[in-house]
């Protein structure tokens, strides 16, 4: 009996080991049918709801928008078709007519109609989409959505306060299946929305509260079974992976090569690097890796990197409410002391390029907007110019060390966060360079990014990292420098108000306006606000002015422009987009929709 038990146990162990080895090998020989991607954090409890921050609705795969932004540096209104096959925008930009893909169907076979778009717009109001604010008189707000016919829908913007960002905001609306979602949305939702927008003050307030409550209810809801108009539908999800299966009803199903997509959880960089080193990932979103890691990844058979410009820049930003950093000469002097190429080499060697000019724009954005570089100061390393600037600020040099006018040491405290290695390494290099130039610089790291952001917003830091140039729209780009963080707040009805340093989230503490040689008195917040309202040709002039202002006033020293680095593997699929393609700034599901990614011939 005992012998039998031992034998049975041994057999079970052998079977387990055999099955284990089968399982391991199967994952490495998935063939050309399954595309493995890394996109975002996965949460198996998350609803299939694109509005939830943790969602099992993946943009470009089973979540569809009206269009896919090309994210071009100069025109945020350029889109690839998605659910909208085509569209017309009225000359004044207040009326958008969308034509739905004639063959668009949901995965359960029902056609995508105008009613789906109208219901989607109602949900967008509840979830607070920027083009769908249920507040009367909102600049750039949608005031009506009309179903013209089954395949045509008209969106109307608030004509009294139009914004040029409205079109892009509408086009990035998620399209939801009305026959699935309508049970969650009151049938009189459009009456409520209209009351919120046009009713008396009391009625509007009640309606807004109703819509807010609906938003809170809807955000945690999702259907049990995925119904998608995208190229894939969610089959199942575990706590570390999601499996999506090709949607045969997708309007461009012929373009979609993979029969399945596995999306792996984006836990941390080291996990992704390990997967890349095993050659298991067919397409990954941007991953920050060191040069040595990059070399190892590219040494793996089939691994390649496709890269393009990224509308993101890492900058050291000053808190100008702290002395002596309120003095522009101090900021300029520091800019002259820092070799940004060296900082980039240390901090972001594999996926960063030293920013050519501290102007609030990446190199690609400067080129795209046609900003004349002849008028911009590159702040190349020049200790003599730095000394001149420091002396103009009243700083003194004694024994090779710079001191404040009162004789105390001139100290530059640089704050970083342990969460980002590139920032920490970069900050250490900046400190070393400044110390070599006689400036007492020290680096302190916050324990994590959440703590860093909270302390940053509280104005606790003096010099700290900040992501700038976050485009693609020029308005978004300069909002990072001349938005709420620097005291300028856009009212819902348009117009901009400025808060003093330390109030209403103003942690940068810059003065409301400054005199700049050749430009006169400039209020950068007002100019930034105008960027959301004027046509592209006028935006170009404002961008040039803001670039010059930023370059002169140096509220931040741009260190490097990030490079949008996507890892792909050509062992199972080919036909990836080329370097610098605008589609690289969209998920791989969108690449597939646009005809990229083909199964490799065996």
């Amino acid at each position: 009996m005992r012998r039998t038990a031992v034998a049975a146990t041994a057999l079970a162990l052998c079977a387990t080991l055999a099955a284990t080895s089968c399982s391991s090998s199967s994952s490495s020989s998935k063939g050309g049918g399954t595309f493995t991607a890394i996109l975002t954090q996965i949460d198996s409890k998350a609803p299939i709801n694109p509005y939830n921050q943790s969602t099992n609705s993946f943009r470009g795969y089973n979540a569809m928008m009206l269009g896919w932004s090309k994210n071009t540096a100069t025109d945020p209104n350029k889109f690839y078709p998605a659910i909208a096959k085509s569209w017309e925008l009225s000359p004044d930009g207040t009326k958008l007519t969308v034509h739905i893909q004639p063959n668009a169907k949901w995965s359960d076979g029902k056609p995508v109609t105008g009613d789906d778009l109208k219901l989607s717009a109602a949900v967008a109001y509840a979830e607070g989409g920027s083009a769908f604010a249920a507040i009367p008189g909102t600049a750039g707000g949608t005031v009506d959505v009309k179903v013209i016919d089954d395949k045509t829908v008209e969106f109307d913007q608030n004509a009294t306060k139009p914004l040029n960002t409205w079109f892009a905001n509408v086009m990035t609306m998620y399209v939801l299946p009305a026959h699935v979602w309508s049970a969650q949305v009151p049938s009189d939702i459009w009456d409520t929305i209209h009351t919120a927008l046009t009713g008396s003050a009391a009625d509007a307030k009640t309606a807004q509260d109703t819509i807010t409550a609906l938003g809170k209810k809807l955000i945690g809801w999702g259907p049990d079974k995925d119904v998608s108009a995208g190229p894939f539908t969610l089959t199942r999800v575990t706590t570390s992976e999601a499996l999506l299966t090709k949607n045969k009803n997708f309007y461009d199903a012929d373009k979609i090569a993979p029969s399945q997509v596995v999306i792996k959880n984006y836990q941390d960089n080291s996990t992704i690097v390990n997967l890349l080193l095993k050659g298991e990932i067919d397409g990954s979103v941007y991953v920050a890796v060191s040069q040595s890691q990059l070399d190892k990844i590219l040494a793996v058979k089939g691994n390649q990197v496709v890269s393009g410009a990224s509308p993101v820049q890492a900058s050291l930003v000053f808190n100008e409410s702290k002395k002596p950093f309120d003095n522009v000469h101090v900021r300029r002097g520091l800019a002259y002391l820092i070799d940004r190429a060296q900082v980039t080499k240390v901090g972001e060697s594999s996926s960063g390029k030293a920013s050519p000019y501290p102007a609030g724009l990446t190199a690609a954005q400067i080129q795209g907007w046609g900003v004349s570089t002849s008028g911009l100061n590159a702040y190349s390393v020049d200790t003599a110019k730095a000394a001149t600037e420091f002396q103009q600020a009243g700083l003194k040099q004694a024994g090779g060390k710079w001191t404040l006018p009162d004789g105390k040491p001139f100290t530059v405290p640089i704050q970083t966060t342990s969460d980002f290695n590139d920032w920490t390494s970069g900050a250490s290099n900046v400190a070393a360079q400044l110390q070599a130039a006689g400036v007492d610089a020290k680096v302190t790291a916050s324990s994590d990014y959440a703590t860093y952001l909270a302390d940053l917003a509280a104005g606790k830091f003096t010099v700290s990292w900040w992501l700038t140039a976050l485009g693609p729209s020029a308005y978004n780009i300069y909002q990072r420098l001349y938005g709420a963080a620097n005291g300028w707040t856009l009212g819902t009805g348009g117009g901009v108000a400025h808060s003093a340093a330390g109030q209403s989230g103003n942690w940068m503490g810059e003065a409301e306006s400054a005199d700049v040689s050749g430009l006169g008195t400039v209020n950068p917040g007002e100019l930034t606000n105008q960027l959301s309202q004027v046509p592209p040709d006028q935006q170009k002039q404002i961008v040039a002015k803001l670039a010059a202002f930023t370059n002169d006033q140096v509220p931040a020293i741009a260190m490097w422009d990030y490079v949008n680095q996507n890892f792909v593997n050509t062992n199972r699929f080919t036909g990836f987009p080329p370097n610098d393609a605008d589609v690289l700034r969209q998920p791989q599901g969108v690449w597939m929709q646009l005809g990229y990614i083909k199964a490799k011939a065996k």
Binding site: K30, Q53, A133, G140, S240, D448, L453
Partner: protein, 336 residues
């Protein structure tokens, strides 16, 4: 029987008090943490390409799931909800119950912890007996040194060693996750095999980092028991070696139950390191993510579940102690 019930009632009262203390402590400790969940979420959305206005609107919803009111009001509200087993809503996965978030991870962690405890306990006790009986030989010395060595290696180092050996140098086990998603779920061979293969290394990491303490304790316990009169009596009565070993092992096992109970708490705590290393989606990963997002509800729920697990394990161990040790069962009376 009455003694047992009184004992159990005492345990339950103490457990409830302990849970209340931990709930109170973690409630305030978590809220003292620096970091703003709304700011973190806003930044994340902007960096994902959302316009500042849209990100501001989207994060506005988060406020609806954040606790409001004074600290005391929040505390009273929290305790009231706790009495109804309501841990609140997650701000990480907006609107989803925090308890659902935690329980999803908990089932995987409990599986790993149980597997790790069973393997380490079995390995540790058997090798501990051998190390004690053959304490004067090379085998005994080797086992003692091995036990000390493994006992000294932290769990996360053990995890990294296993990852390097079994997924990089000799890639026979999967790198991460709890199951291969391409395998159809259900009670079928491939799915079970996939579960086992994914859990093997994390469970082994638990087991290898814990068996050393069982081995060393069992060894010293057996050596101590070997000198007892009943062992000599058994030998004089001519009992077989196997019978004598059984006597010795049963008596020597008693101190291990104390360690056993403590180990459970240690292993739940270790889940943070081991699950992070293997990207194994248990409670440890849930806790790490909730801390990163400053998801107070999920953090509270995770800490409480870990506390409850440790308390329950201690009660169970204590009751088992009663069952296996007649002296405890009889309230300390001498056994006739």
């Amino acid at each position: 029987m009455r003694n047992l019930l009184v004992r159990l009632a005492g345990h339950l009262v103490r457990a409830l008090v302990m849970i209340w203390v931990v709930a109170t402590f973690t409630f305030f400790l978590i809220r003292l943490m620096p970091g703003d969940p709304v700011a973190a979420q806003y930044e994340k959305l902007v960096q994902q390409g959302m316009s500042p206005d849209a990100a501001r609107n989207a994060t506005r919803l988060t406020y609806g799931f954040l606790p409001t009111g004074s600290g005391w009001d929040q505390y009273v509200h929290y305790l009231w909800r706790l009495l109804h087993f309501d841990f609140g809503r997650s701000t990480q996965t907006l609107g989803v119950n925090a308890s659902a978030e935690v329980l999803t991870g908990a089932k995987w962690t409990i599986g790993l912890v149980l597997a790790g405890i069973l393997i380490s306990f079995a390995l540790g006790t058997v090798l501990g007996v051998i190390a004690a009986i053959r304490r004067s030989s090379g085998v005994g010395d080797a086992l003692t040194i091995t036990g000390s060595l493994f006992h000294a290696i932290p769990q996360f180092v053990m995890a990294l060693v296993l990852i390097t050996v079994f997924t990089v140098i000799w890639p026979v086990f999967p790198t991460d996750g709890n199951v291969d998603i391409l395998v159809d779920p259900g009670f079928n061979g491939p799915y079970v095999a996939s579960l086992v293969s994914h859990a093997s290394l994390p469970a082994l990491a638990y087991a290898l980092s814990m068996f050393g303490s069982y081995l060393l304790t069992m060894r010293s316990s057996v050596i101590s028991v070997l000198g007892d009169d009943f062992v000599l009596a058994a030998e004089l009565r001519g009992l077989t070696r196997t019978m004598r070993l059984r006597y010795i092992a049963r008596n020597a096992l008693l101190p291990l139950f104390t360690i056993f109970a403590l180990t459970i708490g240690f292993m739940f705590g270790g889940a943070v390191f081991i699950e992070k290393a293997f990207n194994y989606p248990g409670m440890g990963i849930t806790l790490i993510n909730s801390i990163g997002h400053r998801d107070y509800s999920t953090m509270n729920a995770t800490f409480l579940l870990i506390t409850a697990a440790v308390i329950v394990a201690n009660i169970v161990a204590d009751l088992l102690y009663t069952a296996i040790d007649p002296r405890v069962r009889r309230g300390g009376e001498a056994v006739a």
